[in-house]
Every structure is written in C-alpha cells, then in structure tokens.
C-alpha cells in the first residue's frame, strides 16, 4: 500500500510541485491550503505517514499547524517536514521547537524531497 503524505501549502504552484514529485515516487498525496484547513483535513483523512507543511500561510501559519498536530492524540507521532525558503536558522529552530521532525529547503529537487520523506517515514 502506498504511503500517504499530507501537504499543506497556500501556494497552488508548490502544492502542484509536491504532488508531482511525490506522486511520481508512488506516494498518495492529500492536500490542504493552510494550517486551519490542514488540521481539519487531518481529522477526516486516513493516517498520513508524513506531513509536509509550508511556514508562511494565511489564517494559520506552519508553526501553529505543527503545534496543533502535536497536540492531537492521533497525530502527535506523525513526522512533519517543514518547507523553508530561507535556510533561515531562526525559522527552522522555531519550527523545530513547535515540533517539526525535519525540513526541506526550497527550492527542492524531487530527489531531495523524496529522500527527506523517506528518512522520516516509518
């Protein structure tokens, strides 16, 4: 059975790129458009194996989303990768202290992305 990845990003371009790369690698991709939507989708979807989230998003940003996931009994142990454009150590650290498992630096190439997903996926 293919692994399930939830991607949370407000940019359609980025969602499409993630979908393309992950889909080609055989993952099943579920998409959400911001943090609030992401938490909602999580409630109704099958357990994702990995969550990938952007940081800058309207309504609820990536930090809030990660904290929300970690508070959820069902998903607190789900690996979360954050997408960061700036290899900005401050943002990375903030994401980690919110509970992020790892990170992917944008722009990513598909191999790097898949490698990061594989590294954290059980």
């Amino acid at each position: 059975m293919s692994k399930i990845v939830l991607t949370v990003d407000d940019s359609r371009t980025m969602r499409d790129m993630l979908m393309l790369a992950l889909g080609d690698a055989g993952f099943t991709v579920v998409q959400a458009v911001d943090g609030v939507h992401g938490l909602e989708v999580l409630e109704s979807m099958a357990m994702p194996d990995v969550i990938i989230t952007d940081i800058n998003m309207p309504r609820m940003d990536g930090f809030g989303f990660i904290e929300g996931v970690r508070k959820s009994e069902r998903h607190r142990a789900t690996p979360i990768l954050v997408l960061t454009t700036e290899s900005d150590s401050v943002k990375k650290e903030r994401a980690r202290s919110a509970g992020a498992t790892g990170w992917i630096v944008k722009p990513f190439n598909p191999d790097k992305l898949i490698d990061a997903v594989r590294r954290v996926a059980a």
């Binding site: 359609r12 309207p58 929300g68 700036e86 590294r119």
Partner: protein, 754 residues
C-alpha cells in the same frame, strides 16, 4: 503538456493573483491599514512568488523578490515603519516585480537599471549596504566544511573529532577511484525531545545502514524500574559501529534532523578495518533491533520501548504491536478540547476555500456554444409544433413552454459562469496612474468604485485598452498641473474616478476627472483647422465635446509619450462600439469631464426585435430601439429626391429605409406601408428606421459574421432563427451613419452642382 510546464503555467497564474494581492495590500497600507494581517498578506505574496520562482530557477525574479521580501520582513518584524515614503517605494517595487514576472513568463528581460534602482531603494530602506542578495542565500545553503556541525556530547566533551573532516577529504582526494572503508563508532543518546518531534532512533539506524555495515549495541543502564518508568521518556543509549567508505559529513547528515535532540559522538577508528563482507541484506531491510532489545530485556523490562521500536522497524506487521503500546500513551484532554475549538472555524474556512474551482475557458466556451445550439433547437422545435397545428393548450405545447423556461435558465446560468468582476481591469489602473502622474508631473489620486460589478469575460478583456486610454487622457489632458490647480482654487492633487455599475441590463463605466474640462473654443478651432467642420458650423456645446471622437482629432499640441500613441478617442469609440457599447462625454469648464461607457453584459446573446425587410428577416438590437410606430402620411416629409423625415411628437427625425441602405431595393418603401423603429444611435442622435413589418421580440444567440464570412457594412452579426434560417443582426449605428454619409455625399454633389 509536460507536467512541469503545466505547473509553470499555474505558477504564472498564481503570480498574477499574488501581484494583485500585493498591490491591493500596499494600497491599503498607503491608506494607513498597517495591521499585521495586511502586512503579512503582502509579505506572503512576495514570498510565494519568490518560492515558485526559485523552483523554476527564474534567477532575476528570485533576486528581486528576495530584496523585496527582506524589506517586507523588516516591516513585518516592526523594524521598519511603513510610512508613506516606504509604501511608495514598495508600490514601485511591486510594479518592477510584476515586470519581472511577466519578463520571466514571456521570455523578456527587465531593464537592469530600473530593477537595480528599485532594489537599491529597497535596500536603502532596510538600512543595509547594498549587496548581491543571492550571494547571502547561497552562503546559507552551502555546507561549508568549516561549518559541518560536529556535535559534541555534553557530558564527555570530546573535542578531538574536529581533525577528521580534512582527513576524510584527503583520503578521497588521494584515492579517488577506490574509496577506502573506515570504521566509525557512533554513540547516540536520544533525548525526550527527539521522540516528541516524531524522530525515531530506529529510522536513524536504518539511515546508517544505508551507508554501510553496522553493528549495534544498546546500553540500558539508565532504564529505571517499571514503577518510575515514564513511557514517553528516552532511556537507552546506542553504540553503533559503522563500516563505510563514506565521509564523516555523510554520517553527520544522518543526524541532521535530530541535532540538539540527542547526545552524539562520531569517532573514527584509526586503524582501517579489515574489509568485512557487506552482507547480503538489501539496504532498506529493517535493522534487527528486536534481537538487541530482547537481549537487553533479559536484564530490564523495556516493553514500551521495544514495542515502539518494533512498530518502526518492522513496518510489515506493525499493527498488533502498536495496538498494544497505544493505551500506554496518556490522553491529553486539553489538546482534544483545543482541537474541537478549532473545528468550526476550520469547517467554515474549508467551505470558503472550496467555493471556487478553476475551469479551462475552452470548456466554458464549448458549453456556451452548446447552450446556444440548444436555444436555437428549442426555438425550432417550438415553431415546428406550432406549425403542425397542435393547440396551445395541449400537453405538448405546455411541455415546450416549460422547456423554454428551463433553456432560458440554463442559458443565464451558463452566462453567469463567464461573468467576472471588472476588478481585474480596475486593479491595473493604479499602476498606470502612478506612471502617467510621474511622467506628467501631476499629482493624481485614483478612486475606484464598483470593482465587484460583473460582466462577461470577453467584454472585460476588451475593456482594458479603452479604459487605459481614457485614464491617460484624463490625467494628460484633463488634470492641470499642481500650481495651476492651486491658482484655480483647487487642491494640488487631482482626482480621477473610475466606476462601474449595472444599469438596466448593461454595465456602465465612468471615467471622470476634476480637471479643467474640455476647452471648447480650442476644440472647435482644431476641428476647423483640420477641416473636420465648417468655419461657420453652428454647434451646441455637446456637439463640440463630441468632436474629440472624430477620426484624426487630437488636442495634444505635441505628441507626448503618454497619450500620443497614435490612437485618439475615435479608436476608443470604435472599440467600445465593437463591443456593442456606447460612449458619451459630459464636460463642464473648470470642473472636469466625465466619459460614460455603456456596454452589454454579454456578447453571446442579444434581445432583439425580429423584423422583415424585402422578404429578408433581420434582427434589430432591442437596446437601441426607443419605440416603434406606423408612420402616417401627414407626418412624413420629403426633403430631397429620396430622403424623408418624419415628425415624431413635433421633432423631425430622419427616416431611413433599411432595405435601401442594405441594397435590398432601389425604389424606396412607401412609409405608410411599413413600420418605423425609432432608434438612438451614437451620441444620442435619433433616427427612424423603416422596415416592412415586425415579427416579434426574441432573444437570439449571436454568431459572428466576421469569423464565418466577413465584415458587412450595416450588419453587426448573424443569428439562427427557430425555422433554421440565418438572420442578420443590424448594426444600428452603422446604418444611421451610412445614411448620413450618403446624404453628405449627395449634399456635396448638390453643392457642386449649384
């Protein structure tokens, strides 16, 4: 299409959305709305563009967006106050960013000087010395050797590992064709935080195993007794002996995500190992941690840890083990409540998000075409039924009536799909105003109203040019320079108002300014100089104002680079008429001018009056018709061999025989035998069109005559009627004008003869 290319198309579409978000956000900031939501939205727009541009390696765009983003980040962080000056620079930067996006999309380049100027202006705001922005990012991305984070464990503080990085590199240099195997010892002591972030020791072991052969041992010395054991705490230490040809930084990279969340030492054994067989196991095969743990279990009960390990390392059969360990995880009640609190909001948000879908325009157009065919077919069917003599009250006829209602509703709904707010056109105008204002040295404020007014997409697409031109004109010709305005008792800043509204089934767009108004004596003089009117013409103020719509008229004494693009108001007027619209002007000296455009909401259907002329069926647009009447002999006066006027309520109106204008007949129709349609043409001029008879009123689907045949004088388009025949749709303005031209020619002939 290549999927990546398709995403690129999406990216550029999204860029346009982000750019308009950016602009409206900045404009809001200009009005003093500097709350964090607005600033964040502006930041996100630029950030998003940069992110996507990076994915497609659009370097100049990334570079500029990066500088812009840095400034916005300062504003967001409260380091830079978004005062008027700052916002003005950012608005101009937004324009340049838009140029970069379009250059990237259309394969052009943005003028380097301009881009650099704005980039420098932005950097000046940051208070930073200008530096090549991309360089700083590359620097961040570079896994510089001296930065390789060799984590040293807190307790033993072994620092002598540092020497090995250059050594490893040296080996690779010396023996590039056959890297030597080395043995490394990795000590790993996870902290609680490692597991809290959903990292797993088992996965780290799996990664290490990809690098080479590993031997793992567990030190359970820190495990407390079951009574004191916290199920979620980390107690085990791991020692891994790794035999690999990879460098230390490769090993280090495995622990990248857990940096700081574990104690880690990596030491190399100085003696190169004797080469052990790499083993038959495939790389992804889970490492057998269970055996190790079972060994440890001999001493200590470490059941929860074992269960979790097993779950990770044996993905083939994780379920029962996980089920066993799950109850041991404490239930965070507060978190559940918090999640529940979020839910209603989330549901609402999701609904809002899903309220729109993107559809390829081709599909909508095809649907519209099909519905058009449906309407025609329905009409034909109705006609056949009527012809077959089925009584009106029969079930068939009544069913057909219902069908007609449905068809009409389908048609309206389909048309609504294409309807879009004029916002997309309006939001291009602030930039235009800024540019023209800068070029002319005038101070201009643009006020827009009714941006949400919806109109068919094809109409919107063709509105941009006319509106652009009218706004240019309003600033260039309408508004005065600041000092002139002040002298005239006005504020130095002129106002250009752009508004849209629905009015009686049409959209009305107004462009007005509070400038000097039309200089009528000058307009009149120019028209005389250019031979457009006679010296002694008796013209009303309105007539003079309308002279600016005449071809070849231009009031600019020098061809400025703003309005003087070789198109005048005559072109604007023609393009508006091409859309089935009208344009009118009102002006008051010293107080400004207003241009009013009135356009149909759609170009696909038309309410028409079906008439007969010489056995031909024609359709006259209902919007042009004021009334229809049967001329009485005493009201009609001949004013020449073949020209008539008709008295309608004490006003003489030219009577135009449509059949003669279209060349259907040479002998004019006896006015008393036909029907006159009183129509209002361009600029409000009225005329009465003579037709043989009126058949009825009907909505018709417009089929382009130009696309299927060619342009015909006096004919706007064609349609297919219920009986399957093609009927031509009259271009009322053109028919009236044609008649005038003809009259002018015959007048000239008469004058020459006399």
């Amino acid at each position: 299409m290549d999927p990546l290319e398709a995403i690129k198309v999406t990216f550029f579409q999204e860029c346009e959305e982000q750019l308009s978000e950016l602009e409206s956000g900045l404009l809001a900031m200009e009005q003093g709305e500097t709350d964090s939501e607005t600033v964040n939205a502006v930041f996100r727009a630029v950030h998003s563009i940069k992110g996507g541009a990076g994915a497609f390696s659009l370097e100049p765009l990334v570079r500029f967006a990066h500088v812009f983003e840095t400034t916005l980040d300062d504003v967001r962080a409260g380091k830079l106050a978004p005062d008027n000056n700052v916002v003005k620079v950012m608005l101009r930067a937004a324009d340049v960013l838009a140029d970069h996006v379009r250059a990237a999309r259309d394969g052009g380049v943005v003028e380097e000087a301009r881009s650099q100027e704005l980039a420098s202006a932005l950097e000046a705001l940051n208070g930073e010395a200008p530096l090549a922005p991309i360089a700083s990012e590359d620097f961040d991305d570079m896994p510089g050797l001296e930065f390789t984070p060799l984590t040293v464990s807190d307790d033993d503080g072994i620092g002598d590992d540092f020497g090995f990085t250059p050594l490893a590199a040296g080996i690779i240099e010396l023996e590039p064709e056959g890297p030597a195997l080395r043995r490394w010892t990795v000590h790993l002591r996870p902290k609680n935080a490692l597991y809290a972030k959903a990292n797993e020791t088992g996965l780290l072991l799996r990664e290490l195993k990809r690098l080479g052969d590993i031997q793992v041992s567990i030190d359970p010395a820190d495990l407390p007794g079951l009574a004191e054991l916290e199920p979620e705490h980390a107690y085990l230490s791991w020692t891994i002996v790794l035999t690999t040809d990879r460098s230390q930084s490769d090993i280090q990279e495995v622990f990248e995500f857990v940096d700081g969340d574990c104690d880690l030492t990596i030491t190399a054994d100085d003696v190169p190992s004797s080469l052990p067989a790499m083993g038959e196991a495939s790389i992804d095969e889970p490492f057998d941690v269970m055996a190790l743990i079972q060994q440890a279990q001999a001493d200590v009960q470490a059941a929860p840890a074992a269960a979790i390990m097993a779950e990770i390392l044996a993905p083939a059969a994780p379920a029962p083990v996980f089920a066993a360990s799950a109850p041991s995880i404490p239930v965070p009640v507060a978190a559940t409540a918090a999640a529940a609190g979020v839910a209603p909001d989330a549901a609402h948000g999701a609904a809002a998000q899903q309220a729109t879908i993107r559809v390829d325009l081709d599909r909508v157009d095809r649907l519209i075409d099909l519905v058009g065919e449906l309407v025609i077919n329905q009409a034909m069917l109705a006609q056949r039924v009527t012809e077959s003599g089925v009584p009106r009250s029969s079930n068939i006829a009544m069913g057909l009536d219902d069908l007609e209602h449905l068809t009409r509703e389908i048609q309206d709904s389909v048309m609504a799909i294409r309807a879009q707010p004029v916002k997309s056109v309006f939001q291009r105008m602030p930039r235009l105003v800024r540019e023209v204002a800068a070029m002319t040295g005038k101070q201009v404020r643009l006020v827009t109203e009714g941006e949400g007014t919806e109109v068919d997409k094809t109409v919107i697409e063709r509105l941009t040019d006319p509106i652009t031109h009218m706004i240019r004109n309003a600033i260039d010709h309408g508004l005065e320079r600041p000092e002139v305005r002040v002298a005239a008792g006005k504020g130095p800043e002129g106002t250009v108002r752009l508004s849209a509204a629905h009015r009686s089934g049409r959209i009305v767009i107004e462009v007005s300014d509070d400038g000097k108004g039309i200089d009528r004596p000058r307009v009149r003089q120019i028209a005389i100089d250019k031979g457009l009117i006679e010296v002694d013409s008796n013209l009303s103020d309105e007539d003079v104002d309308n002279l600016i719509f005449m071809p070849g008229f231009s009031t600019a004494s020098s061809v400025s680079d703003i309005s003087g693009r070789g198109v005048g108001m005559d072109v604007v007027k023609r393009s508006i008429q091409g859309l089935g619209g009208r344009i009118a002007i009102t002006s008051r000296p010293g107080q400004g001018s207003t241009f009013t455009l009135s356009l149909p909401l759609t170009l696909a259907v038309l309410d028409g009056m079906v008439v007969s002329v010489c056995d031909h069926t024609l359709v006259a647009p209902l919007t042009a018709i004021i009334e229809s009447l049967q001329p009485k002999a005493q009201d009609v006066r001949a004013i020449g061999p073949d020209a008539y006027v008709i008295a309608i309520r004490d006003t003489y109106t030219p009577l135009i025989d449509v059949g003669a204008v279209l060349g259907y007949r040479t002998t004019p129709l006896d006015p008393t035998k036909g029907v006159a349609l009183l129509v209002e043409g361009e600029g409000g001029a009225r005329a009465a069109l003579m037709v043989d008879a009126i058949q009825g009123q009907r909505q018709v689907v417009i089929k382009s005559l130009e696309a299927n045949y060619r342009q015909v004088e006096g004919i706007a388009a064609a349609t297919i009627l219920g009986d399957g025949r093609v009927a031509l749709i009259l271009d009322v303005d053109n028919v009236v004008a044609a008649r005038r031209r003809e009259k002018a020619r015959s007048d000239a002939k008469l004058a020459a003869a006399g």
